[in-house]
């Protein structure tokens, strides 16, 4: 049986008095490629931020590799690309791409294997950009740099929050193809996306969140469910819950 990497038990979260997540139960197993979908404001990014410890839940428990979140120490096992990562960098930023890619090794005190670094640079096509300043890169180039940085310590779990926003169609396709290759090699991926066309191609698990988790299962079951018209009325209905 596959190891459980993320386990979310009965999780609720509220911003002020506005309930954003209600009684979420979710499991991600080793080797899953899970897409989290749902409407804007449905709580997808909030769920990820709770899982990564950035936000404190109202109630519920989160386990990573079987350990409670507060006891979890092996954060180097997780690569994370935030939403609209390319917007985080200011034009004055003097860090070079090379300096940027080496950052995780200093945060987590882990060595970067040169072969892995070279492979990623080659795969994502940023070889010519290594000595360029981050502030001089385009949005798409920055997105790629963030993704490489998330993969540089060879994580077991990669979490991406709408990573292909701002990329053109062909870049998106190439990007997901590369992600698919990493998934084939055993990387577990959790992806927040609005691009449902992706689901048929690369993803094997789907979770639909709109304040509550109203679907969590494999891709085939999702296809059956999503063909019914009432699915989309649930998908778009946002209740303004207060606690």
């Amino acid at each position: 049986m596959n190891q459980t990497i993320i386990q979310v038990k009965d999780l609720s979260f509220a911003y002020e008095r506005h309930l954003v997540l209600k009684n979420i139960n979710l499991e991600v197993k080793k080797g899953d490629f899970l897409a989290i979908i749902g409407p804007n404001g449905g709580g997808k990014s909030t769920l990820i931020k709770c899982i990564l410890g950035f936000l404190k839940p109202l109630k519920g428990e989160i386990y990573l590799w079987g350990r409670r979140l507060k006891d979890f120490k092996d954060w180097y096992k997780i690569g994370y690309v935030p939403q609209r990562a390319g917007d985080l960098v200011e034009s004055l930023t003097p860090l070079t791409v090379k300096e940027f890619l080496s950052m995780p090794s200093k945060w987590y005190k882990k060595t970067i294997h040169p072969a892995i670094k070279d492979l990623l640079i080659e795969k994502f096509g940023i070889k010519d950009l290594l000595n360029k300043k981050l502030g001089a890169l385009s949005y798409g180039q920055l997105q790629r740099a963030y993704i490489i940085r998330a993969l540089i310590l060879e994580p077991e779990l990669l979490i991406l929050d709408e990573p292909s926003v701002g990329l053109d169609f062909f870049s998106q396709d190439a990007f997901y193809k590369t992600l698919g290759e990493f998934h084939q090699k055993g990387l577990t991926i959790v992806l927040i996306t609005h691009e449902t066309w992706l689901l048929t191609k690369w993803v094997n698990k789907v979770a639909c969140i709109n304040q509550t988790l109203f679907f969590h299962g494999d891709h085939e079951s999702f296809c059956v469910l999503s063909s019914k018209p009432e699915f989309f009325s649930d998908y778009h209905k946002i209740e303004h819950l207060h606690w």
């Binding site: 979890f72 180097y76 004055l92 003097p94 070079t96 945060w107």
Partner: protein
Amino acid sequence: MEELLFSLQLVKFGVLAGILLGISLSLTSPFLILKKNALFPHALTHVLFFAIIFTTAFSNYISSYLEYPVIICLTLFSVLGILILNKYFKLYEDTATSIITHLALGLALIVAAKTNLYDARLLSYLFGSLVTVSQKDFYESIIVLLLSFAFFYKFYPLWTAQITDKEIPGINFKWANSFYLVIITLQIIIGIKLMGILLISAFFVFSGSCALKLASNFKLAIIYTAFLNILGILGGTLISVFWDLPFSGSVVVFMSFYFLFFVVSKFLNNNRRI
């Protein structure tokens, strides 16, 4: 020439402390600019003004060894006030900062007026002076420089991380940010003697922003900032001594020429390309 040498002899500790401060600031100021917090040191000077006035007014009761800890505690207490207004009153951070800093400035003026500090000393706090920098201040600037290097070495990965990321899994920025606040507080305390409360924050912005434009990587940005700060101190000193002008104003005017130089060279380069 003899007159010039005599003047320089009078201000030697000020110049040396300024050079060391210029190097210290190069290790912190680029982060402030990149985090769009360039006005934070100016806000901090208001709080420090109150802390300095307070410790001076009550110097009979506060041992000289405790002066710096008291100043740092009052500063951290004010920052806590900003956090409380931000978190519990849901005020924007800059609004909360403005409220606390103006409160500190108001309190400082009341303490100064009620304790007979409302005189020439007040002017030296506001505008600084090279002549008033003593050998003791010079030694303190060495300590601040060493602390700046130590904190920079320890927290560089987390200070830079906040330029490119808001949150990182498993990384807590609390200590890195607290030490950052402590070190810029110490730098400002030294800087106030030289540049005064009104102009010390210029040191955090002028050289750093030029260096960030010029440098091709982060290490060079720090080296350029240090170089431009030292150049500013030396240039400002010469202008001040030659024309008998206030030191802080001379430094700021001298450093503003950096921008003029860059604008003109960019304009000429663009014209050459056409």
